[in-house]
């Protein structure tokens, strides 16, 4: 059997990949994708913990995370479309006018 | 041969048989479509190749194989190739979770019975649904990677249409699952064995007539068939998402479509028509023949509808899906839930 730690390490790596993606990419859509990676990393650790504890709670939290992810993707992409209409760009650095 | 090896061999044989049947199904369906079309239009249809044109599909395949493979200059090389593969893979894979026959020992050949079907999954309904929903990527990617506006529009239409009708589709599935109390297709089928009053088969068709109709309509839309064939509406989009395809790559799309039709029909049979349960033949371990017959009837209906009903307008399609089909499915689900709760089925 696979130790719990293995799943958690996979989860950690995926999470770090997601965060790195947020910093490295200059495309709003890819950044959103990176956020999805992070969410999935968390999901994995939830399910793994749930399995280790022998309860279904981990799975249920995962459902909620998925729902939130769906909502986030819908709204986030709607915003991306709106932004793109204004600047013809998806680079987050193009939208820096909201400051001081 | 010892039992384990024999068993392995038989499993492999079942998988092979399923695969073979699916390939043949697509070929046969092409022919059937053209023949039935001809029949309905009071003409012969293909009749030159082989007796009554029976070998026409073979000729078609040969023709397609020898055609030149074309790729538009600005097309995305990888995704252009990947798209038909995804389509056809998803189509084949979806059928893997569909059982098509009862447990059998092959006339005493095996000690313990083997299940007829590629894989027995306890969440088969979800698996079929999940893999079917992957099929949309093939079409969307094809549309996008071709770098052609007809293809792109076809791909967009396809994805929008499939997402819309998936809702109604999944909701009707939920009704049946509630009745059967299981996500396993095999258990759903077994729940339909026997008769009411001695002669009416206990098919969910009779408990879920509305659900069945919704399922078939949604299935037609899911497989992009007429009257919902907007992704490839030739009058508007030349040929939709596969405009730029040729040769084998092109052949894979219709093949995927026909396999999807078959899968849809098979699942409909399992869910509503009692699967392999039927009189007489079941007793000889030949229930799967009933299965084939039922699937054939549904497939015939598909073709029949295609050549009878004209194509809708695109907005009518979306309106129909969201404003009529989906609410109907939800109401059906609620009524079913109330029914299950009240009669404690």
């Amino acid at each position: 059997m696979i130790p719990l730690g293995h799943y958690l390490i996979v989860s950690a790596i995926l999470f770090a990949i997601g965060t790195a993606g947020v910093f490295l990419r200059r495309n709003l859509i890819t950044i959103l994708l990176s956020i999805e990676i992070m969410l999935n990393a968390v999901n994995l650790s939830f399910v793994a913990f749930g399995r280790a504890q022998g309860t279904v709670d981990g799975q249920i939290i995962t459902f909620f995370v998925m729902t939130v992810a769906a909502a986030e993707a819908a709204v986030g992409l709607a915003i991306v479309i709106g932004l793109f209409r204004h600047r013809e760009s998806l680079n987050p650095d193009a939208f820096t006018s909201l400051k001081w | 041969m010892d039992q384990a090896t024999l068993r392995f061999a038989i499993q492999l044989a079942i998988i092979g048989f399923t695969f073979f049947m699916l390939i043949n199904a697509s070929a046969l369906l092409v022919l059937a479509e053209r023949k039935i079309m001809g029949f309905m239009q009071q003409r012969y249809g293909p009749y030159l190749v082989g007796p009554h044109g029976l070998l026409q599909p073979l000729a078609d395949i040969l023709k397609l194989l020898f055609k030149e493979e074309l790729r538009p200059k600005d097309a995305d090389r990888w995704l252009f190739t990947l798209a038909p593969i995804i389509s056809v893979t998803a189509a084949f894979a979806a059928f893997a979770a569909v059982p098509w026959g009862a447990e059998t020992t092959f006339f005493g050949l095996l000690d313990t019975p083997v299940k007829l079907g590629v894989a027995d999954v306890n969440v088969a309904v979800l698996v079929v649904f999940a893999i079917t929903s992957m099929g949309v990527y093939g079409i969307v990617l094809a549309g996008w990677s071709s770098n052609s506006k007809y293809s792109l529009l076809g791909g967009l239409r396809s994805s929008a249409q499939m997402i819309s009708y998936e809702l109604a589709y999944a909701t009707t599935l939920a009704s049946v699952i509630m009745l059967a109390g299981s996500l396993s297709l095999r258990e759903v089928v077994d729940a339909q064995s026997g008769y009411w009053l001695g002669f009416i088969p206990r098919w969910y068709l009779f408990l879920q007539p509305v659900g069945f109709i919704i399922y078939v309509i949604a299935g037609v839309a899911e497989t992009n068939r007429a009257p919902f064939d907007f992704p490839e509406a030739e009058q508007e989009l030349v040929a939709g998402y596969n405009t730029e395809y040729s040769s084998v790559r092109f052949a894979l799309f219709p093949q995927a479509e026909y396999i999807n039709m078959t899968t849809m029909s098979a699942v409909a049979t399992d869910l509503y028509l009692g699967g392999w349960h039927g009189p007489l033949l079941e007793r000889f371990g030949l229930g799967w023949v009933w299965f084939l017959i039922k699937v054939g009837i549904i497939l015939f209906t598909y073709i029949w509808v295609r050549w009878t009903v004209p194509r809708y307008r695109y907005d009518q399609l979306m309106q129909f899906g969201w404003k009529w089909l989906f609410p109907a499915a939800v109401i059906n689900l609620i009524v079913t839930a109330a029914f299950v709760l009240y009669f404690n089925v």
Binding site: Y7, A16, A73, I79 | L79, A130
Partner: protein
Amino acid sequence: MSETILFYLLAGVAVVASALVIGQRNPMYSIMLLIASFGALSGLYIQLDAPFVAMAQVIVYAGAIMVLFLFVVMLLNAPQEDGAEWDRAHPLRRPGIGRFGALLAGLLIVQLVWALTRVNDVGGAIGARGDAAAISSVRAVGRVLFTDYVFAFEATSILILVAMVGAVLLAAREGSR
């Protein structure tokens, strides 16, 4: 044994695909790779006796959310990451800052693994506790979801509704409101 191999295979696919997701300039490829990653994760869920989550992962993430992304990419038709120099004068917006972020991400992995080494319980094989059948059945999941978590479930439904309205409103063209 085969289970271990499968685990490493799936985990490897998930990690490599994810890494490639953020390595692509073309969001279309990113999306396809992410779907692959999700597929691998779905396999891991099956290994964790959570088939329902696995299927939901495919249906919801791969089948719906990713289609949405795909749709947007197709709609905007601006696939390539644009290399335009936006306001690079600001010291905090230099490209190097991204590399710094990646460095931090690496640091995070080290930290998390380090944290894991300091916890005793994670070494044990998974599945030692609890009955696999009890937690893998959809029935069990549904029962808990609609009893203990029913409030969260209902709240989620409202969240979805709000998100739907918000998305429609945001994406609607100015004139068509």
